[in-house]
């Protein structure tokens, strides 16, 4: 009780692209890119953390020699332990900025279901190192399904496809447990990389990841649509070495995204094959629910619908499903105990 007076329980969606924090009692309190900018002192060689989140993301690809903007998470897991810990510490303090005391909340972190024991341990220790009193880990698709409002407690199959920045998770759940889950290391980042390499290959022009992300947000589509959208972008011409402006359209981007998109579709098909028939029938009747930032890609539901022949629905506010679901899970832990879900 007193712990809650000093700091709220937090649910953290520690994603490759964005870190979202849901505070129990306050709702979504933080949504920032998982980016940290580091300044290195050339004389002493010491590093100093310069900026976190949105400020640091603005520096991505625009830093001088002595600075680096890095993303400490890669493919859904921690790539740089120390920086991740510092970033979490910063974010936890940020959401407790008005408190007099050093916050030590209970923290629930969502991990990709494909994360190894070593990776889970790294995430847990990172959270504890960042000042958490207690750390719980839950599989991302479970949190996503709860956040999307799916009735995972029923004895019926519910399938969720969560497309994040680094990984895509597909899982079938029933009776508060995961029946089948798989994780592919394809997500929003792979879409960006695919756009960068497509433009370099076809136009001979190099664009940055930030530009690729902007193209993805504005004109990318996963299924051939009725209308064609165009966009003007700037990049460096590789043969001339000078910046050039050019126009890309949505069909080109669709072509560029084929490989990562079909990686995700293949994962969904594999999941459907591996799902027990009773649960598969439930999924076929009610549909697959899309969550995560990838669900915002135009017509992705259409693509999966056509490829699988099943209804596909996009969850409400898909970006925050995982963090919100985690917040709900903390409540359920208080009501029913940690063994209620498969929580570590």
């Amino acid at each position: 009780m007193f712990g809650r007076f000093f700091s709220n329980d937090l649910s953290i969606d520690l994603g490759t692209a964005n870190t979202l924090i849901y505070s129990r009692g306050e709702g979504m309190v933080l949504d920032e890119p998982s980016v940290v900018a580091i300044r290195r002192d050339p004389a002493s060689g010491a590093s100093k953390l310069e900026a976190f989140g949105t400020d640091a993301k603005r520096m991505l690809g625009r830093t001088p020699d002595n600075m680096k903007a890095i993303r400490p998470m890669k493919d859904g897991v921690i790539a740089d332990f120390t920086i991740t810990e510092k970033m979490l510490q910063h974010f936890i303090r940020k959401v407790h900025s008005t408190r007099m005391f050093k916050p030590s909340p209970r923290v629930l972190v969502c991990v990709p279901c494909g994360a190894t024991q070593v990776e889970r341990r790294a995430i847990r220790e990172s959270v504890l190192g960042a000042g958490a009193r207690k750390a719980f880990l839950i599989e991302e698709p479970m949190a996503a399904a709860i956040g999307a409002g799916m009735p995972v407690d029923e004895a019926r199959g519910s399938m969720v496809l969560d497309i994040g920045g680094g990984t895509s998770e597909v899982a079938v759940m029933s009776l508060n447990g995961i029946v089948y889950s798989s994780s592919v290391r394809i997500g929003g980042d792979r879409f960006d990389e695919a756009i960068v390499s497509y433009i370099r290959r076809n136009y001979g022009i190099l664009i940055g990841e930030a530009t690729a992300e902007r193209i993805k947000h504005q004109i990318a589509t996963a299924y051939p649509g009725k209308e064609l959208n165009e966009m003007e972008v700037k990049g460096r011409n590789l043969s001339e070495g000078v910046p050039r402006s050019f126009t890309v359209n949505s069909n080109e981007i669709l072509e560029a995204l084929q490989e990562p998109l079909y990686g995700i579709v293949a994962a969904v098909k594999t999941a459907l094959e591996a799902t027990p028939p009773e649960l598969g029938a439930d999924v076929a009747e009610r549909g697959i629910v899309l969550t995560g930032g990838g669900a915002l890609l135009n017509d992705l539901d259409r693509l999966i619908m056509e490829e699988t022949g099943l209804p596909v629905l996009i969850a409400e506010d898909p970006l925050t499903c995982v963090a919100r679901g985690g917040g709900r899970v903390i409540e359920l832990i208080d009501e029913h105990g940690a063994e209620f879900f498969s929580i570590e």
Binding site: M1, F2, R4, F5, R24, G25, E26, G27, I146, G147, A148, G149, M150, P151, H217, Q218, E285, R286, G287, V289, L296, N298, D301, M305, G309, L310, P311, V312, L313, I314, A315, E316, D317, R324, G327, R328, E331
Partner: protein, 325 residues
């Protein structure tokens, strides 16, 4: 991006917001206007025809959980060119709240209640009460050190073994005699004044006298330091107006004990580490005496020249609290 552009358009034209009264009628009318059969729609969206019919007839019992229904409405709405947000809102208005228990909005509402000011203030109140209790307890635990007597007219004779130089007395005898002293107006007020006993005696006639043997003063100091609650060797506080009795109580310590003694009118206190080993402490006052002893097994009590057995009062932590009468 799409979300942003939608919200912008809504903000620009707030009066043109679409509202649907009935979800089922809206869907059926839109579908029939565009001459799309339920079967075509079901093929296109991979939804079963029964599901589409249930939506159009608003048979919500036949439909799955609300989160799925909202997804269906968005899919069908965008296929038929309807305002999907308005459709979902119309559905949410129709479905009773408890069916939406798992949805994000109702969860948020319930969670907000934990931030209730009542709960916050009750927590603050509990913290304050606990703090006050701790302060009261700690004051009660060190009464002799910082609790001055309420009356100004009091005399205190205090003994500092270090300040005495006459080490010629052989007996480790401590005597504190309580006597009536109306003349004592020049009280040394507090218990911890390090004034020399000689001065005190010269200022006022010794209504209270305390003589200590200083040959063992070092030992006494060590014993004092071993008792955490007490810093002085002996402290006697006597109210001059107290009716003084003639009952005598002698405490003989064989270990590093401490004692708190109150006589009948509670004006007389003896509170301190009572000095060197085997040194009897002689107290005169009015019975009954309330005693509170530390290391009680090492104390022998004589009351009006009769031995008093207090072993039955000794608690497991070797502390005894009892009354002698």
């Amino acid at each position: 991006m799409n979300q942003e552009s939608e919200t912008e358009s809504v903000e620009m034209e707030p009066e043109q917001q679409v509202r649907y009264d009935s979800v089922g009628d809206t869907l059926r009318n839109a579908r029939e206007q565009q001459q799309i059969s339920a079967v075509d729609l079901s093929d296109k969206l991979k939804l079963s025809t029964q599901l589409i019919q249930a939506l159009e007839s608003e048979d919500f019992d036949a439909l799955p959980a609300p989160t799925f229904v909202r997804g269906y409405l968005r899919a069908i709405g965008s296929e038929l060119g309807l305002d999907t947000d308005a459709l979902v809102e119309a559905y949410s208005n129709r479905v009773p709240e408890d069916e939406l228990a798992l949805s994000s909005t109702s969860t948020a509402a319930r969670q907000r209640s934990s931030k209730d000011p009542l709960m916050v203030w009750s927590t603050v109140a509990i913290v304050v009460v606990l703090t006050v209790l701790v302060v009261v307890w700690s004051l009660g635990f060190f009464p002799g050190q910082d609790k001055p007597e309420p009356q100004a007219n009091q005399e205190v004779e205090q003994q500092q073994p270090e300040s005495e130089s006459d080490a010629d007395q052989g007996l480790p005898d401590i005597q504190i005699q309580l006597e009536e002293s109306d003349t004592a107006a020049t009280g040394n007020s507090a218990a911890v004044a390090p004034s020399e006993p000689v001065d005190s005696e010269s200022e006022s006639e010794p209504s209270v006298t305390a003589d200590a043997d200083d040959t063992e003063s070092e030992e006494a100091t060590q014993e004092a330091s071993s008792a955490p609650t007490l810093s002085t060797n002996q402290v006697a506080t006597i109210h001059p107006e107290a009716p003084v009795g003639d009952d005598t109580l002698v405490l003989t310590m064989t270990g590093s004990s401490w004692a708190e003694v109150k006589d009948a009118n509670e004006y007389a206190h003896v509170f301190g580490t009572i000095g060197p080993r085997n040194s009897p402490l002689r107290l005169t006052g009015k019975a009954p005496f309330d005693l509170f002893l530390g290391d009680a097994r090492q104390v022998a009590i004589t009351y009006n020249d009769r031995s008093f057995d207090h072993s039955s009062y000794i608690r497991s932590n070797n502390v005894a609290q009892f009354r002698v009468k």
